[in-house]
Symmetry: C2
Subunit: 478 residues, 2 copies
C-alpha cells in the first residue's frame, strides 16, 4: 500500500484541553451571570438565523470563533431555563455534577445498545435505577432483582409509548405487534392527563379517539367512579379496555390522581396501569411526601424525570416496569448482526429491547454523579426548599385580595390568577414575560385562564420568588 498523507483535521489533544477548559469556564461564567439575561428570549422569529452565514464553511474555523459566536449569536436566542427566575412549565434543572457526568458520557463516546457494547453502560444504569427505587421508596417489584426493572428513556413521552406498547401487546397476546392494531383497544386518562398520552395513542396505532378522558373532581384528580363506568360502557360496546394512566402531579395543577382506587380498578379489569409522575415524582426523596405515591404497588409501570426537578440535565426519564418480560416482548428484535454470546446466554440486559431507539448514550453517568454529589440528604434539602418557597408564594397570593389560588399547591407549583378574568390575566402574563425579569406560563383550570408559577430551578432562592411576587403585584393594571 502506498504511504498515506498524514494530514489531520482533528482537534489535537492539547487544543482539546485548552478549548475544553475555556468551555468549562464559559459555562461557570454563564451560570454565575444567568440572572442578568432576559429569562424569556426576546428575539423575533428568524432573527437568529439571519445572523448565521448562509453556507457551510469550506475550510475549518478556529474554535475561539465558535465559542465567541455562542456568546454573540446564540445567547440572545436562549430562553434561560437555568435562570433562578424561570418559573414556567415544569422546571428543567441542572447541576455541576450532572454537566460533568454528561461530559464524560460524550467523551467516552460509547453506544450501549447491547450489554456487550459497554457492560458498564448497562450495569451502572440498572444499578442506579435500583438505587432510585430506594431513594424514592418505590415498590420493590420495580427493582431488577425482582421481575421488573428500570431504564432511562429520553422523556416521559417515550416512556408513555413503551408503556402503551407493553399494554397493547399484553391485551392482544402479541397480535397487535405481529398483525397490527384493530382500533378496538381503549385507554384511559383524565382530562388533566399529559398530552403525551394522547400523542402516544396515535403513535402506537391505537388511535387518539380511543383515549377516554375521564372527568376530574374539584382538586382536578381523576374520578375513579367515572373511570369504572366508562370501562364498563366500553366493554359493553365490544371494545377492549387495556391501559390507564394515572398522574402524580398533573402538568396544569399538580393534581394527584387516586392511585389506590384506580389501581383496584385496573387489577379487576385487567388494565395496564401506568403512573406518570414526571415532575412530582422527585418529591418522594422526602419521606413526608411519599404519601403522594400510595397505591403505586398496583402499577405496571411508572416514570419520573430527574431532568425536571432532580438536578440532572435533559434528557433523563426513569421508567420502571413491574414485569420486564412484557416490555421486552413488545420491543425485542434480534437481527444477525447484533447476535453475541452475552445476549445468547440470557445473563445480561440489552436495553435496546426496553425502548424504541436501538442506540443509546451512557446517561446513567450523570444520574450517578448527581446522586453521589448531593447524597440523599442534599436532594431532600433542596426539594424541601423549593416546596417551602412555593408555599410562601401561595401565602402571599392568598393575602392579596386582588388574587386567588386556583387550587392549594400540593408541592412546588402554584396556580393562581387575578380576579379580573381571563383578559386581565393574559395581559398580566404577557407583560411580565416581556420584562425578561421572570418567565411563567399559563393553563386553564375549570375553563379559566390560570397562571402557573413553578419553583424548581437549581439556584432559585427566596429573593427570586419574592422579586417575582413584587413584579407581579406591580404589574397589575391599576
Amino acid at each position: 500500500m502506498e504511504p498515506m498523507p498524514t494530514t489531520s483535521y482533528h482537534m489535537a489533544p492539547d487544543a482539546f484541553r485548552r478549548h475544553g477548559h475555556a468551555v468549562v469556564d464559559w459555562i461557570a461564567d454563564y451560570l454565575e451571570r444567568v440572572d442578568s439575561y432576559p429569562v424569556l428570549s426576546q428575539v423575533a422569529p428568524g432573527q437568529i438565523r439571519a445572523s448565521l452565514p448562509p453556507s457551510p464553511p469550506a475550510q475549518g474555523e478556529p474554535f475561539e470563533a465558535m465559542l465567541a459566536d455562542v456568546e454573540k449569536l446564540i445567547l440572545p436566542g436562549i430562553t434561560h431555563w437555568q435562570s433562578p427566575s424561570f418559573f414556567a412549565f415544569f422546571p428543567g434543572n441542572n447541576s455541576g455534577p450532572s454537566i460533568l457526568g454528561d461530559l464524560l458520557c460524550s467523551g467516552l463516546g460509547v453506544q450501549g445498545m447491547l450489554w456487550t457494547t459497554s457492560p458498564a453502560c448497562t450495569e451502572l444504569e440498572t444499578h442506579v435505577l435500583d438505587w432510585v427505587v430506594d431513594i424514592l421508596g418505590l415498590p420493590a417489584h420495580f427493582k431488577s432483582d425482582a421481575a421488573g426493572g428500570g431504564v432511562i428513556q429520553d422523556s416521559a413521552s417515550s416512556a408513555a409509548v413503551c408503556a402503551l406498547l407493553a399494554a397493547r401487546e399484553r391485551a392482544t397476546q402479541g397480535e397487535s405487534n405481529r398483525r397490527g392494531c384493530d382500533g378496538r383497544l381503549v385507554a384511559y386518562g383524565s382530562t388533566q392527563t399529559h398530552s403525551s398520552i394522547e400523542k402516544a395513542m396515535g403513535v402506537v396505532g391505537m388511535g387518539r379517539d380511543n383515549l377516554r378522558l375521564i372527568d376530574v373532581d374539584d382538586s382536578f384528580a381523576m374520578r375513579p367512579d367515572l373511570l369504572l363506568a366508562q370501562i364498563r360502557r366500553d366493554r359493553a360496546a365490544g371494545l377492549t379496555p387495556c391501559f390507564a394512566c394515572a398522574t402524580v402531579g398533573t402538568t396544569s395543577s399538580n393534581a394527584v390522581d387516586p392511585l389506590p382506587a384506580i389501581g383496584r380498578i385496573c387489577r379487576e379489569e385487567q388494565l395496564w396501569m401506568h403512573v406518570d409522575a414526571a415532575m412530582a415524582g422527585t418529591a418522594a426523596v422526602c419521606p413526608e411526601y411519599r404519601f403522594l405515591q400510595d397505591g403505586l404497588d398496583a402499577a405496571d409501570s411508572y416514570c419520573f424525570n430527574p431532568h425536571k426537578w432532580m438536578f440532572t440535565n435533559f434528557d433523563c426519564d426513569c421508567f420502571f416496569v413491574a414485569d420486564r418480560a412484557a416490555l421486552i416482548r413488545a420491543l425485542s428484535i434480534l437481527p444477525e448482526y447484533l447476535r453475541n454470546q452475552a445476549t445468547q446466554s440470557g445473563a445480561v440486559i440489552d436495553y435496546r429491547d426496553w425502548h424504541v431507539p436501538l442506540g443509546r448514550r451512557f446517561r446513567a453517568l450523570k444520574l450517578w454523579f448527581v446522586i453521589r454529589h448531593y447524597g440523599v440528604e442534599g436532594l431532600r434539602h433542596h426539594v424541601r426548599r423549593h416546596i417551602e418557597l412555593a408555599h410562601a408564594f401561595a401565602r402571599w397570593v392568598r393575602a392579596d385580595d386582588r388574587f386567588e389560588l386556583a387550587v392549594p399547591p400540593p408541592l412546588n407549583l402554584v396556580c393562581f390568577r387575578h380576579r379580573g378574568g381571563d383578559d386581565v390575566n393574559q395581559r398580566l402574563m404577557d407583560r411580565l414575560n416581556a420584562t425578561g425579569r421572570l418567565y411563567l406560563t399559563h393553563t386553564r383550570l375549570g375553563g379559566r385562564l390560570t397562571l402557573r408559577l413553578c419553583v424548581g430551578q437549581t439556584c432559585t432562592e427566596e429573593r427570586h420568588v419574592r422579586a417575582a411576587w413584587d413584579l407581579i403585584r406591580q404589574s397589575v393594571e391599576s
Copy 2:
C-alpha cells in the same frame, strides 16, 4: 416569611471550574491512551455491578472520588468505541468539537420543545440541517425554504417511526391517528433492510408481519421487479401498500438499493419512500460518492447519522422530509399549557411536532461545531481516508488465498470470510475479539457467516488496519 437556612449542596462555581478542567483533562488522557485498553470489554456479566455499593449514599461524596471510580470501576466495563481498532457494527465516531458542543448543550440546559423555549435551539437546528443538504448534495426540497425540512432525532430507529407515521397518516387521511390502525396497511423493505423498520412496524401498530422483505440481487440490493410484483399482489389481496424503505449502505454489507427504480415505483403506486443512509450517507460529503444517492429526489424522507461516521457523538440522526406538513399532521398536539404567541403566529417551527418526545436537547450545537471545525474540506479528507483504508484491507484479503471477500466493498465496510466455513469464521472472530486488540462483528450473507470490518473511528490510521490484518492472518487455525 421566616428567614430560610442558606445551606446549599450545589457545586460551587469555583469547584465546577476545577472539576471541569479535571474531567476535560481526563478525557484528553483517555483518548490519547484509548488504544492501550482491550477494545471489547473483557468483564463477565454482573462484574461491574458487583463493584458498586448496594445502597445510594446518604451524604454527598467528593467529586474526586467519583472521577476516580470512573477510572477504576467503569473503564473495565467499557467497550472502547473510540479505539482506533474498533471495527465492529457501524462506527460511532466522535471529535473534540463535538464533545465541546455537547458540553455547551449540557451547560446551557435549555429544552427546545417549542421555538419560544429557546429560539436559537430551533433556528440553529433548521439552519445547520439546511447546511447539511448543501454539504451532502441532497435534493433541495429537503430544505426548510421549500416545503420540507430537517430535524435531529436520536436515532435512525426513531426516524423510521416518524417516517412510518407520516406514511400511515397520508395513506389513511388521518384515520389511523384518530381511530387506530386496521392491520391492512403494508410496507416494504428488502431482506437486508435494518431491523429498526420491522421494529417500527410493531411500534406504530401496522404489524411486523405487514412488512414485506423483498429479495435482493447478487449485490444484496433490493430487486425492484419483485417489489412491484409484491405491491400488486398485496393490492389484489385488498391490502393498502403505503411505505417503502430503500437503503443506501445496508448494515450487513453496505449494499445500495436502486433508488431510481424504487422511486418510480413509489411514485406510481403512491407509497411513501423513505431512504435510510444511516452510516453511508456521510460519504456524500465527497462529490465522487454522490452517485450512491442518485434517485433520492423521489424520496419523501431521508435520514443519516452524523453520530456514526461524521465525528459527532451519539445521539445525532438527521431526518429530512420533503413535505413537513405531512409529518406534523401525524405528530402535532397542542395542549393549553403549551400555547404561546409564537406558535399561534405560524411563523416558527416547534420541533416537538417533528418527533415522538416532547422535550429536546440543543443537539444542533455539536453538529454546528463539527462542521465549522472541520469545514467541508476536513470532513471530505477523513471520509476519503477511511474508504482508502477499507479498500487497502480488501486488497490484502483478496491477495490471501485462505480468505475471500463476500462482496466488493462499496465504501468503508469490508465483508470477508475465511474459506473454511462458518465454524472456522466464528472461532476466528471470537479469538480475535478475546485478544482485546481489535473488535469486529459478523453478519450472514447468502446464508454464510461473514466477518465485517468497518473503518470509521476518528483516529483509525493505516497502522491500525494493518495490525488488524496481521492479527487476523496470525489467528487463523493452522
